[in-house]
Amino acid sequence: MATTRSIPAPHPHPDTQAFWDAAVNGKFLIRRCDACGKTHWYPRPICPFCASPATQWVEASGRGTVYSYSVNRHADPVYIIAYVTLAEGPTMLTNLVDCNPDEPLIGRAVKLVFTPTDGGPPVPTFTLA
């Protein structure tokens, strides 16, 4: 079932503006550190693993698997919040969209789909691959 939940616009910061600008153009960026080679989430200029400033934006594959989720039964419409582990490594908070909330979803393969927000850039969400 589709969720038509009204999503509040994200509030970009100076160090994340590029992410949201890319999202408007349908590109899903993550942050990678050239010093230690790791990608992290959420993106930040200083690597949270090795503290190097040598980080850069890279386009992610948009592929991942569901680490965990919950169905917000209290909301109307019902929506699914989830942690998805990206193919590149890090796990991120997101929504699962166009999924049946009554079937088990942990471990399922998912792919990126941007979802519009109220007057802001779209946000990265996922649906079954």
Binding site: T16, R44, R73, P90, I106
Partner: protein, 388 residues
């Protein structure tokens, strides 16, 4: 430096209210402060250290020391959410050991029930400068669904069931029936819990704590002062604190910061989990209790569901009597922060002042533990080991 045996809890007070429509938050803080000082046999003018957290209105401790007209030489408003007050006891002991104060007052109060706060089911209003808010708010993260994701993963990874989680509520309700002030006094069954409405899968309505007004306060003093007071002395024997967060995206929802704070507290106290006679365990949700019990070493990781089943947390029945006041799950959760009442019930147990129906016999060693913030994103953990 150790805080072992350096400080005593000599005053503890839980506000009797569960709904304070006619009182201000500051007034509630003042009422619990006076309550705890009276319990200790001390005066407001004896206080030279003050501790509070984000529930106190104003900039850190400043408005409250003004309102209470305290003249203090040590201040601490470290805020790790609902676990702050457990951490404050440890910080008070540190300050006392370092000679920074002699009589530390810790207060908590709030009125989310009167203010109609949709505590668990609506996203919190947050400061947009928080670095994580843009990555969380659009997705509808709430308190309940945040904890629910930890429960869902625990079930997937370890086979934990809703029925096992329900036993935690069942145990709390067995205790709450003896507490005339508890919001939920009816004894419930596993079936009652799993048949209550689903809020955020897999957490049902009865997997959640109550929303209440109220508060509590503690007085912590140096040993020389404790010895001249009349109340039974509760010694701070060990403490630990930690934070756990998203770790750059290296997320594992199956454990909490208690894996750090628990062993640190046990090491300082020189005791082990099997020595603990009574445990106050933070109970925002049933899953919170289960994960912390594992992390604190009362059972192996993944075995929490089995451990909490069949009444093992019920006083007089099970191996680990917990939250004998009914806890946040049934009694109260003042200001949406359960850490203060965790310490207070542990103090009651060690003083042999719990309700006779739930008083643990020969209770000379207790643990109090809290998780503040959000289990599945970032939280603070604080563990105390207290001795009669």
């Amino acid at each position: 430096m150790t805080i072992k045996n350096q400080a005593y809890i000599v005053g503890a007070f839980e506000h009797p209210t569960r709904k304070a429509a006619d009182k201000s938050v500051a007034q509630l803080h003042a009422e619990v402060a006076i309550g705890a000082l009276t319990d200790a046999g001390l005066a407001k003018s004896d206080v030279d250290g003050y501790f509070c957290a984000g529930d106190a209105p104003g900039t850190g401790p400043l408005s409250m020391v003004d309102y209470l007209n305290l003249k203090v030489r040590h201040l601490d408003s470290t805020d790790i959410g609902g676990a702050s007050y457990l951490l404050h006891v440890a910080h008070a002991a540190e300050a006392i050991a370092a000679g920074r104060c002699n009589v530390a007052l810790i207060t908590l109060a709030g009125r989310p029930r009167s203010e109609g706060v949709a505590t668990g089911t609506a996203p919190r209003v947050r400061n947009p400068n928080e670095p994580d808010v843009q990555w969380e708010s659009p997705f509808g993260l709430t308190v309940v669904n945040g904890y629910a994701m930890a429960a869902m993963r625990h079930m997937y990874q370890f086979g934990t069931t809703s029925e096992q989680l329900a036993w935690i509520k069942v145990a709390a309700s067995h205790h709450a029936q003896h507490n005339p002030r508890a919001m939920l006094r009816n004894v419930v069954t596993v079936a009652d819990v799993v048949n209550s409405p689903m809020v955020a899968d897999p957490l049902h309505r009865l997997d959640c704590c109550v929303i209440s007004d109220g508060g509590g306060a503690l007085v912590v003093v140096r040993p020389e002062i404790a010895k001249i007071l009349k109340r039974p002395r509760v010694k701070v024997r060990g403490a630990g604190e930690a934070s756990k967060h998203q770790q750059g995206g290296d997320i594992d929802l199956t454990y909490s910061g208690a894996v750090i704070s628990g062993p640190a507290a046990f090491a300082e106290a020189g005791v082990k989990p099997s020595d603990i006679k009574y445990a106050s365990i933070y109970d925002s949700f049933t899953i919170t209790v289960l994960i912390q019990i594992e992390d604190l070493g009362f059972c192996a990781k993944g075995q929490g569901g089995r451990f909490v089943s069949d009444g093992n947390l019920i006083a007089g029945v099970g191996r680990l009597p917990f939250n004998t006041d009914g806890g946040g799950l049934c009694n109260n959760h003042p200001a949406n922060r359960g850490g203060m009442t965790k310490v207070i019930e542990a103090v009651r147990q060690l003083r042999s002042e719990a309700h006779p129906a739930v008083q643990v016999k020969n209770c000379d060693l207790a643990l109090a533990h809290g998780t503040g913030g959000m289990l599945s994103t970032r939280h603070g953990s604080a563990t105390l080991i207290l001795e009669r």
